[in-house]
């Protein structure tokens, strides 16, 4: 029966011939109410099509059932896949997820802060490393929060990400196993902590193989396609050429491939290339890119699970969850050609 106005708890109570308190209990603490009455209530609920008014409930409870997810850029392909994990986990626990993006705009950050202050979200998921609320943060009351991908700089917030060191290690180990010795690292240790960890993985791998990083072929870019292309240009001007390019992320790897192809080289015939992240287009490159895959959906799931734990317990059981990323072998790596000087 769909009347014009939604059924309230009072309608249910009247039909079931009990008080509204009993209805509420029958719904939220079923063990506290007698079998017979629980039955009556359930029937009344079915008849009326009652759904508890979330706003009234949230108001009374002083806490909403929404989780705010803030990312610098929701167009980022990384983002949407993590979203799936987040959403599934949240929904199955009765939470909805709200999304926002800051575009690195302070004004927007402020808006979200107001939003949080008005109690619209019970928890907060933050992407990529910064609280987008500027210096306001100090005075702000943030709800339970967890970071995704990277630790959050200006707040002691637990996070879930990927073990960048171990991931990078897998890439460098593969290259070494293929026989490479002169392995360039095209990196970006400035903008993101995750990236500097990848460099640590690279160095650890080189050390473990008793090669050691040759600083002449470690290049610092900014993680963009262009920076990868630029790295190739620069390295070709120096005397020491690598046989393989291990890149801090797929974007950089794509740039490197473009640069190499522009000079007429064959990949992996002349040079091997690896990336990190496994962005969607990695598989469509020619050759397809060997890279380290971010377990995106799993990250989302774990992040939300951690947040929900925070919401109920108050205390985080762990302050950092690092997932182990997989190596995905495609066609951009082979043994070094012998005709390299």
């Amino acid at each position: 029966m769909s009347n014009s106005t939604p059924a309230t708890i009072e309608d249910v109570a009247r039909i079931a011939n009990v008080s509204i308190a009993t209805v509420s209990r029958a719904i939220h603490m079923p063990e506290k109410v007698a079998n017979s009455t629980r039955l009556k209530v359930n029937q009344a609920i079915a008849v009326t099509g009652y759904t508890t008014n979330a706003m009234a409930r949230s108001l009374r409870l002083g806490r909403s059932n929404m989780i705010l997810v803030v990312a610098p850029d929701i167009g980022d392909p990384n983002f949407s896949n993590i979203l799936i994990g987040l959403e599934n986990e949240a929904r199955s626990h009765g939470y909805g997820i709200l999304i926002g993006h800051t575009q690195n705009d302070a004004q927007r950050g402020l808006e979200y802060l107001k939003f949080l202050n008005s109690n619209q979200a019970a928890g907060l998921i933050l992407f990529t490393g910064i609280l987008p609320f500027g210096h306001q943060t100090m005075t702000a009351r943030l709800p339970p929060s967890v970071g995704v991908f990277e630790p959050v700089f200006n707040g002691g917030i637990p996070y879930v990400g990927v073990d960048d060191i171990a991931g990078a290690r897998k890439a460098v180990d593969l290259l070494i196993a293929e026989g490479h010795r002169k392995i360039a690292f095209i990196g970006d240790s400035r903008t993101r902590l995750a990236y500097s960890r990848r460099r640590m993985g690279y160095e650890a791998g080189m050390d473990a193989a008793d090669i050691g990083a040759d600083l002449r072929i470690v290049f610092e870019g900014d993680g963009t396609i262009e920076s990868g292309r630029l790295a190739v240009e620069q390295l070709f001007m120096r005397d020491t050429l690598p046989t393989a390019f291990m890149c801090v992320n797929d974007q950089t790897a794509i740039g490197v491939m473009i640069g190499l192809k522009a000079r007429g080289y064959d990949i992996p015939g002349d040079f091997s290339v690896t990336g990190f992240d496994d962005v969607p287009q990695a598989v469509f490159m020619t050759p397809s890119l060997t890279t380290i895959r971010q377990p995106r959906t799993a990250i989302g799931k774990h992040a939300m699970a951690l947040l929900l734990e925070l919401l109920s317990d108050g205390q985080p059981t762990e302050t950092e969850i690092l997932l182990l990323p997989d190596l995905v072998v495609r066609n951009s790596v082979s043994a070094p050609s012998r005709i390299r000087r």
Copy 2:
């Protein structure tokens, strides 16, 4: 001053030495309150850091400030870009956006329906053509809604999408202008209305050039990469080969390119290929794919604007907004080679 508990309208009233009604008015109907008191109130708000409790407000108003966005798959790259448009427009009007995905699962659809019933969303944005609520829909009270991409089958809901006919026409016109006459259409008119419209655009273009569609080279797939590859296999078994493949979407085009390359053909030297959508990887294909670009952010913006209009006016001014997509010329199209039989 950040106390443990957020300031309420009462705190503000006390400090400004007015009643709570006046505070409320000062915020929402400033012209109704004297300049001097408005000033006092604003100061008190600044002092307390007051933000109106959205849940209480929504409860009183009987309507939330959230828009629910439901998509079959939020991992879809189309989705995230539209999200940007949606979010910007919503946020700038004081609305937040909630996202959900159904994965074509009826159970999930039901959950969202309950969600809507509990008044958590003032409006609904639906992706791709179906109300995910099954037969429940008839009895359901849906909030104001708008569809994105395609009309919503089982409900008279306005939508904003792209002019698929005009878009397809641009692709076919380009091919014809390059000199192609035997243009295959690799389509999928079953799953989505948008796709069948693209075929209409194709046929209109062929007719306009007095060529007419040759049904022997019109192939019905299902819009996947695999279906594109399959189309190539099938066409090569027939007697009439096209010189160009116009594909219903980029996925299909990618499949066609894979199939063509597997047979050793050069694109666009031997065959030209066009897509539709301009998915992110289109630019990374070799050759990069000439296609029709969905104005994604604009679609999101228009959809949200239309919904907000519905929310205030009640009546939609238009039942269908069709945006004109652009042709983006890349490297998968050239004049037909003369050595084609």
